[in-house]
């Protein structure tokens, strides 16, 4: 792709060095002379931002590690000390925390761009897979890093995530203990999380080098998805791509700075300013925003699938939602790279992006929250006035109690009781009560949620309590469209997109015609193409 090297050492020293270690030649060929398609748009500038993010995270992280104490009793305090007393700690700590969010923001745009323009298709499969590997490493690193401040959310996120690994069959429990370094999240966990959180960014840096190597071997894709045909279609990386990337990165840094200086805590959870307390579960346990979609997938499975219980199904789906990205190059059967020329795929892609955002919304909500209005109702039946008669119930055995109780109730009803009920006092004993005489009354109540309904029932009971000791309450629970239901729909589309839509659409879709100006080398139509 790059062709023969055009590097010419200018001075005596560079000629000397070039014969011994051609590092300047490599840099020149990779970042100066490297031919880049001239029609790249701004979506192609996020790679530069990502390399900046990695550098910012490593540099700020190394400084933080000089002051951070990986000990369950001192970690929380040491983060406070960094923010209060370490020179410029008030700058470096938010830089690292906000930097993680910015890193994920940029990587998501980068990935969606690759998805839209078909940058994963031959010959860029390895490039895409390396990118997916970087992303997976980022997720692990971010999770490990989030546990280090040892706040409530750190501790409980670590607990939840290591717990779900325990759902794996056969090996789950061993893996869980192995990762935690013991039965529970404790000092051993914090120490190894810190060690790995320091290690993994350098692994990421290594894979990034491979990613760039693979990129420079196959060349960049471009918005048309049509391979570069000649040198005329390209411009040298420096200055053309460099200056464009610098401009876009500068805008990105402005967004970074706005968050860092003015909203350093806006992207985090307030509970992480509470010291970790293993004895107190926070009211809600949620990950950082960038992992919310996967959390929604995990929690979408509230049902068992055959022999797979709901917990394991959620874990499998969560890992599969990242895993499916790795095989994407072989799932999409379309010969056309860019969705610019795939009218149906384009619409499916838009829905896919909306689905991912929707999953993020679901991940941050209480799964039981009802999204569509629903009416819960109940009917209360009671007898006003009347006289209560009680009959003892006794059965021969524990198993025979239900039969004996219903027989006793039946007997009371036979005597003319308007309302009967029984309560159990021991293994084989209980009492059946019947209300005789009085007037039968009935009342219906309805409310928007189960809690409100219970409150309404309670009120109705209180209002009638003076005259009626016993009530029969029939609750009617309607179908409710909860966050979990929405997550299930969205999760279904997420997998449908990769496993059905892309494979099938590639075979049946009629792509738009690629304009001649693109099918031919650009310079011929220099005046027309812009």
């Amino acid at each position: 792709m790059s062709g023969p090297s055009t590097y010419e050492p200018k001075s005596g020293f560079t000629r000397w060095l070039d014969k011994r270690l051609p590092i300047l030649r490599l840099s020149h060929d990779s970042f100066v002379a490297y031919p880049t398609p001239r029609n790249l748009n701004y979506w192609w500038t996020f790679g530069s931002m990502l390399s900046l993010c990695l550098v910012v995270q490593i540099v700020s992280g190394v400084v933080l590690a000089m002051h951070y104490i990986p000990h369950i009793d001192f970690a929380f305090d040491s983060v406070q000390r960094i923010k209060r007393d370490v020179p410029y700690g008030w700058l470096i700590q938010p830089m690292h925390a906000v930097g993680a969010s910015m890193f994920f923001l940029a990587v998501y745009v980068h990935m969606f761009r690759g998805l839209y323009y078909g940058s994963y298709k031959a010959p860029r499969e390895v490039l895409w897979i390396l990118g997916c590997l970087i992303y997976a490493l980022m997720v692990v690193t971010a999770f490990l890093g989030y546990s280090l401040p040892w706040g409530q959310m750190s501790f409980w996120a670590a607990t939840v995530i290591t717990n779900i690994l325990g759902a794996l069959p056969f090996v789950g429990e061993s893996i869980q203990v192995w990762i935690r370094g013991g039965g529970a999240i404790d000092q051993a966990t914090l120490n190894r999380f810190f060690s790995l959180h320091y290690l993994l960014p350098f692994v990421i840096a290594g894979v990034v080098a491979l990613h760039i190597w693979a990129l420079h071997e196959v060349g960049q894709n471009n918005p048309t998805g049509v391979e570069v045909k000649s040198k005329a279609d390209t411009v040298p990386f420096t200055p053309h791509a460099t200056i464009k990337d610098l401009f876009a990165t500068s805008l990105f840094v402005i967004l970074f700075a706005v968050f860092m200086f003015y909203m350093p805590d806006a992207l985090g959870h307030a509970d992480n300013y509470i010291r970790a307390n293993p004895l107190q579960t926070p009211p809600e346990i949620v990950p950082e925003w960038y992992l919310l979609p996967f959390y929604a997938v995990l929690r979408a499975f509230d049902f068992n699938i055959g022999p797979i219980d709901s917990k394991l199904a959620g874990v499998i789906a969560m890992f599969a939602s990242i895993g499916v990205l790795f095989v994407l190059p072989w799932l999409d059967t379309s010969k056309v790279r860019s969705m610019r020329y795939r009218p149906i795929a384009q619409q499916c892609f838009v829905i896919f992006v909306a689905v991912c955002i929707g999953l993020g919304f679901c991940g941050g909500q209480n799964p039981g929250r009802i999204l569509a209005p629903a009416t819960f109702s109940a009917t209360l039946n009671w007898v006003e006035g009347g006289e209560v008669r009680q009959e003892p119930v006794s059965a021969d055995s524990d198993a025979g109690y239900a039969e004996a109780a219903s027989a006793a109730e039946q007997a009371l009803r036979g005597q003319g009781a308007a309302l009967v009920a029984s309560s159990r006092t021991g293994e084989t004993t209980g009492a059946a009560r019947g209300v005789f005489g009085g007037t039968a009354r009935s009342q219906s109540v309805s409310a928007g949620t189960m809690e409100e309904l219970d409150a309404a029932i309670g009120e109705a009971k209180t209002a009638a309590a003076a005259s009626a000791p016993y009530f029969i309450v029939e609750r009617r629970v309607p179908f409710t469209f909860t966050v979990t239901r929405l997550s299930q729909l969205l999760t279904a589309y997420y997998f449908l997109f990769f496993l059905v839509i892309l494979p099938v659409l590639g075979l049946i879709e009629t792509p738009r015609r690629v304009p001649d100006t693109i099918a031919k080398p650009v310079t011929g139509q220099a005046a027309g193409a812009s």
Binding site: P239, F247, V258, F261, S530
Partner: protein
């Protein structure tokens, strides 16, 4: 296509943000604190008064474990002292407030106000000569003396409820300083069992008795100590306690953003220059 998509994505993200902001919890009124806006600074008189409320009221149950006495007198702290030349006498005088212009910051080790505050506390320590436990007056390097030696003692002294540490309380609660203020003003003076009804507290029932009453403290600057005034002041103090470098951060941010805006402009012009005449 993608442009429309990105706009809708931003709109969706904003909608989600609003949805998150409208979370559960009690009723919290949005109060216009001086530090709310991107350029807003702390009202240092309010921080000083709030410190007085904390020290005379809250400190009997609540610790501020991350604060040391010296923090009060460091630059950006409520008792930071400055030497200012008096134009009439020509002599330098010490003032506890950053002057409009000029003024020389007095190192916290030389700050008599902070020293007096620290020395009023009695700290248990080990005598360096005998190795025996000994009580000594506080030094400015000491952390604020907690009201209870440990959590068990704190619970035992408060009917089983643990008064939380206040040094990062505004960051640890949704709503921040607004929440703290609303909580202090949210008592309806009704009881529910052993708990008190509070409109701002999540769940509506709180163990803490109403800490503030009119005139609970006597402000040295003559401000009338209404309950609301005390609540505003102590919320401001706790915001400062949680985020003492906010003013410095906002000031730096302004310079950084101005620099980045100019840089972006220049880079855009350079980009246009480089790509001039290139079809793309």
């Amino acid at each position: 296509m993608l442009r429309a998509l990105s706009i809708s994505a931003v709109a969706a993200a904003a909608a989600i943000g609003v949805a998150f902001a409208a979370g559960e919890g009690g009723h919290v009124e949005d109060y216009p604190f001086s530090f709310d806006s991107p350029v807003g600074a702390y009202d240092m008189s309010a921080v000083q008064r709030g410190y007085q409320v904390y020290a005379e009221v809250c400190a009997s149950c609540h610790a501020v474990e991350h604060l040391a006495y010296r923090h009060l007198g460091e630059e950006g702290g409520p008792f930071a002292a400055y030497m200012v030349r008096n134009h009439e006498t020509g002599e330098e005088e010490m003032v506890v407030r950053k002057p409009e212009h000029g003024g020389r910051f007095v190192d916290v080790t030389e700050n008599p106000y902070v020293r007096a505050i620290a020395q009023a506390a009695t700290i248990s320590d080990i005598d360096p000569n005998t190795g025996q436990p000994v009580d000594r007056p506080g030094r400015i390097s000491d952390k604020f003396l907690p009201p209870f030696p440990n959590e068990i003692a704190a619970r035992a002294g408060n009917g089983g409820a643990y008064p939380p540490d206040l040094s990062v309380i505004v960051l640890a609660r949704h709503g921040g300083a607004d929440y703290v203020r609303a909580l202090l003003l949210g008592y309806t003076m009704e009881m529910d069992g052993d708990l008190l009804v509070n409109t701002a507290f999540p769940g509506g029932r709180i163990a803490m008795p109403p800490p503030l009453t009119d005139g609970r403290v006597t402000y040295s600057d003559g401000t009338e100590a209404t309950v609301e005034q005390q609540a505003n002041d102590v919320a401001t103090f706790l915001q400062w306690a949680a985020d003492p470098h906010m003013e410095q951060r906002k000031r730096t941010g302004l310079v950084v953003l101005a620099f980045l805006a100019v840089l972006s402009g220049l880079l855009y012009l350079a980009y246009k220059q480089v790509w001039r005449g290139e079809s793309h």
